[in-house]
Amino acid sequence: MLNSLTTGFVNRLRANDQAAWFELWETFGPVIRAQLMKWGKGRIGPETVKDLSQETLAALSDSIDRYDPRKGARFSTWLLAIAKHVLGDEMDRRGALKRGSGKKTGEFDESWMAAARSALGADEVYEAAVFRAKVEAAIRMVQKESDFTDFAIYSMRVLECKPGKEVAEALGISEPTVSRRLAKVRDVLRRRLGEVIMTYSFTQEELTEANRNGLDLNPKRTPGPDDDVLFDDSISEIYHRQMEMRRAQTVGF
């Protein structure tokens, strides 16, 4: 079921709002690139991955009007299908260019995808990456919204996993001040995370992903200390996984 945020975002995309497309690219671009890199490992280079990820978004802009979430397909899955066909076209084109390869133009060969399938399966890995991308987008929003020092404290404390005492010494403030500013950013992050997930989630299943990953976004219930710790740990873990993915990309590039 679509909410107003989701509908508004899709409408912005359909209206060719440049900012919305850039937002989509910033959020899903790295995930698409990672997936293309995994599929095309040993076959396509980093520059081709960049080109193909842009072609994927170009293809998406051509077909965004045809997207109907009521049919049950996730937006991310739909995006993945487009990326898959873009890569398939590229591989077919290369196969046709090779003389004596025995392949004709337009022949769709997915055998190369099977080789890249991991233990979880491409879809599961991809959906996990998409969820992490949403969390990263929420963190970015909070970074923009928060005071510089507040977010620096949150970053040092949660993302870099530094003890509160060390953070307090580094910044010349007291530990209670660190805790208070940390809580401030955490609250903002909870709100923004809920908004981001609502914006980029197109099915009911996607909406429950946050809870499944240890992120309690229920604003009505007052979170306790244990909930905060769990929330921070989950954010930290998701952030570090996302960093690993980006690092793998930069090695490739």
Partner: protein, 839 residues
């Protein structure tokens, strides 16, 4: 149960517990690491085997492809399809590179990684290819064969090499300026410019108008700052000249520093850390100069930072001014730049259509500087943007600087100078790791003294363009002015015309009054602190001058004017002084031009009238062409009789008889004596011998031939005539002819001979001698009588039509159809030889 049993039981239980505990400890501390180690080794071996097999198969495939490509290359060369041959050769080269890479990995890469020496091959696999790709090459401008051959393309520069090209379609050449250019550089305050980089935009080879327009719009500003030394912009060409900085790019230096550091440190060691901080400080210092000069680099990245060894100290230089933009430009923001080093906010603003002057572009350079610092510390890209995390060894203060530089637009350093102050503090710290973020100047409440940086350009330029604005900002400002939420409200406002105050109606002298602030405008909406101070100072000067005018009471008073303009910074000169100064300037320019022309002529040798290599080659070509034509003509003349040749007989050393063949008849005469005015002799198509300057030996017929000799000389014969006739007869007999007819030794009463002579004369009676009919009749008669040849000797006629026996006779040789050419030729040559000897 006795107590002893209980004790034994307890001891046994304790023993069991201890044994279990020891077993658990053994498992956790020994077996688990052991199994992990075994699994690690197995994984390495597995990777090694898979890698070796894959590379072996790939190398075989590449070799097979090479075997297929090689004959295609040769075949296309043979049939002259050069483009196809080049295409296949390129493919062959690619396959060769693949095979070489596979061979390298099989021989060195995989074995080294198997034994845990992956670091050994890092230099070969990563740093070496990068250094090779970025090395200056000997590539020359299009069409150039040698550096000297392209001297005219960039006047005043001699190209000595080239650099890898960028993405703008431009070509980069290393060049040496000539003495005149060096002198002009020195006049401009740029000393010691031995080599320069010429960025050329060939319109016919990859460059397009948008690139040229973008690169040219900040040229003048960059020139003032000393970034660009020279430029030329015309419809046919566009290039600009920068100082050449020899050295390695920062990304290569970073990799080297990380490779040199102790691996156990997981990052840069102290020496590498200080070097890196020095490079980034140099970079930020240069950026500060840019920004103070009103420019924005826009493409700061490690590849554009060259580290030069200057007097033993490494110094980083920022290069590539392709995207340099004036900060006050009215252009719309563009998304140009390099991913990971470009602020994402810049892209958002560009997509919104924000103008350059509506934002503080220097902050995007600050972001890029933070990204460069991150890349230096992490040896990787800041892929996460502001969320990128430094995981390697790095002081907390440096992390803070990175975080602050890459923070959101409104929260990052307000200027490069502020970032430079933080960096300088870290550099100055004895132990950077002991320095806390709170100790950084940007976190302090007091103003900061900015370290002075030695600029690349002269002190005069520095003072002129930078010094006036330096050190007047409040670096304690925590939050810089926010970004425009919407397009700036005053974006469409037109700038007011300057207020001109006329001083003298007669001469037209005037001054431009500084613009007064608009009453409804925000005080600092457009101008910075320095501009505000300058504007206030200007107003005060104007007020003081006005007071002085009022006190003097006379408009146009010279003293007041002098005071006013001296105080306002304007020196007034009389018309005569101005004219004299203008004349002096023109004269100086003329002399300069003369000196330039004079010095251009000799040392450089350009546009010289003296014969050069080109003249020599051209001469060779012309001479060769003439010789070829001559040889062709000569060859045709000697081989073929199809052409008609005219020879002046007087050119021959000895008088030679001229022979004319018309069908089966040969006419032999001495052309030099045939008339007073020797006519050119025309040779018919079948003539073999054109002219002879030496008497050739007369051949002798092997089988002999029957000949009839007819003489038209009137009897009695004179001595000369007789001698000639006898010589001819004798020579013919010597040559193998069986001669009958009017020979001097003919017996009287030989009726057969008389009849035959009579028949011959009857056959040609009434026919003009030497005509075609004369020839045809005689040929038919000779055929009928079974003779081989008739030799008809006739005297030449004088002007009255009487025989002139003093002249050499004319001989006609009429051969039968069945007679061979040898018979005819022999008769001709024999007669010619005889007449020549009797001349």
């Amino acid at each position: 149960m006795s107590p002893s049993d209980i004790g034994i039981g307890i001891a046994g239980l304790v023993g069991v517990i201890l044994a279990v505990a020891i077993a658990v400890l053994l498992i956790t501390h020994l077996l688990v690491p052991l199994f992990r180690g075994v699994a690690w080794v197995i994984a390495r071996i597995f990777h090694f085997i898979i890698g070796m097999l894959a590379d072996a198969v790939r190398m075989i495939g590449a070799l097979l492809a090479m075997i297929l490509f090689a004959p295609l290359v040769l075949l296309n060369i043979l049939i002259g399809r050069w483009s196809a041959s080049a295409h296949f050769a390129s493919s062959l080269k690619g396959e060769l590179a693949i095979a070489g890479a596979c061979l390298y990995r099989i021989c060195l890469g995989h074995p080294a990684r198997l034994v845990g020496m992956g670091g050994l091959v890092e230099g070969i696999e990563q740093r070496f290819p990068q250094a090779v790709a970025q090395a200056p090459s000997a590539d020359m401008p299009r069409g150039g064969k040698s550096p000297s051959g392209r001297a005219g393309q960039f006047e005043g520069y001699k190209i000595v090499g080239s650099l890898p090209t960028g993405g703008s379609g431009s070509k980069l050449y290393i060049a040496e300026p000539d003495p005149i250019k060096r002198a002009s550089f020195e006049r401009g305050g740029f000393r010691g410019v031995d080599q320069v980089v010429i960025k050329n935009f060939p319109v016919d080879d990859g460059s397009n108008l948008p690139n040229i327009v973008r690169e040219s719009r900040a040229l003048e500003a960059a020139k003032k700052l000393g970034l660009v030394l020279d430029h030329e912009l015309s419809p046919s060409k566009f290039y600009y000249v920068m100082r050449y900085v020899p050295g390695q790019p920062l990304n290569v230096m970073i990799q080297q520093l990380h490779a040199q550091s102790d691996p156990s440190l997981q990052g840069l060691d102290d020496r590498g850390l200080r070097s890196t901080l020095g490079y980034v400080a140099d970079l930020v210092s240069m950026l500060d100069e840019y920004h103070k000069g009103g420019l924005w680099h826009k493409d700061v990245k490690p590849e554009n930072i060259i580290v030069e060894q200057l007097d033993g100290r490494p110094r980083a230089h920022l290069v590539d001014f392709g995207l340099v933009t004036p900060l006050r430009s009215a252009m719309t923001l563009t998304t140009h730049g390099t991913e990971y080093f470009r602020d994402p906010e810049l892209v958002r603003l560009a997509l919104r259509g924000v103008k350059v002057h509506e934002v503080d572009g220097s902050k995007f350079d600050v972001y890029a500087a933070g990204a460069v610092l991150f890349a230096a510390m992490e040896n990787s890209f800041p892929a996460h943007g502001v969320l990128s995390q430094v995981t390697r060894r790095c002081p907390e203060a440096v992390k803070w600087i990175i975080r602050r530089a890459m923070a959101d637009y409104d929260k990052r350093y307000s200027s490069a100078a502020q970032m430079l102050a933080d960096l300088a503090t870290v550099q100055a710290a004895r132990d950077p790791f002991a320095l806390r973020p709170i100790d950084l100047p940007s976190m302090q409440a007091s103003p900061v003294e900015i370290p002075q940086h030695q600029p690349d350009f002269s002190p005069e330029q520095h003072a002129a363009f930078v010094g006036a604005r330096a050190n007047v900002r409040d670096y304690t400002q925590a939050v810089p002015p926010p970004l425009p939420a919407d397009p700036a409200p005053n974006a469409g406002a037109k700038r007011a015309r300057p207020d001109i105050r006329l001083l003298n109606w007669w001469t037209g002298e005037h001054v431009v009054v500084p613009e007064a602030p608009a009453p409804d405008a925000a005080p600092n909406a457009t101008f910075g602190p320095w501009e505000q101070v300058a504007r206030n100072a200007g107003q005060k000067v104007e007020e003081a001058v006005d007071h002085a005018f009022a006190a003097a009471g006379i408009a146009g008073n010279a003293v007041v004017n002098d005071v006013r303009f001296r105080r306002a910074g304007v020196h007034l000169r009389s018309a005569r002084e101005q004219v004299e100064a203008a004349r002096a300037r023109i004269q100086a320019k003329r002399e300069g031009m003369k000196a330039r022309k004079a010095s251009c002529a000799k040392p450089l040798g350009r546009y010289s009238n003296k014969p050069g290599a080109g003249s020599f080659v051209s001469s060779l070509i012309v001479i060769g062409g003439i010789f070829f034509v001559f040889m062709m003509v000569k060859g045709n003349g000697s081989r073929s009789s199809s052409s008609t040749t005219v020879i002046d007989a007087r050119q021959t050393v000895a008088p030679a008889p001229a022979a004319t063949r018309e069908g089966a008849m040969e006419t032999i005469r001495f052309a030099s004596q045939a008339s007073e005015k020797p006519a050119p002799t025309k040779y018919s198509k079948k003539t073999k011998a054109a002219s002879r300057t030496e008497p050739a030996p007369v051949p002798v017929l092997e089988n002999g031939a029957k000949a009839l000799f007819v003489s038209d000389f009137p009897a009695p014969l004179t001595a000369d005539t007789r001698a000639r006739v006898e010589a001819v007869v004798e020579r013919l007999r010597t040559s193998g002819f069986e001669l009958t007819g009017d020979t001097p030794d003919a017996k009287e009463g030989d009726t057969e001979t008389v009849n035959r002579l009579a028949e011959a004369r009857v056959v040609v009676s009434g026919v003009e001698v030497a005509s075609n009919e004369f020839r045809d009749r005689l040929v038919g008669w000779v055929n009928e009588k079974g003779l081989d040849v008739v030799v008809w000797l006739r005297p030449q006629l004088d002007s009255t039509g009487k025989p002139d026996v003093t002249k050499a006779p004319i001989a006609y040789v009429i051969a039968a159809q069945q007679a061979s050419d040898a018979v005819r030729d022999t008769a001709r040559d024999a007669i010619a030889a005889a007449l020549r000897t009797q001349k």
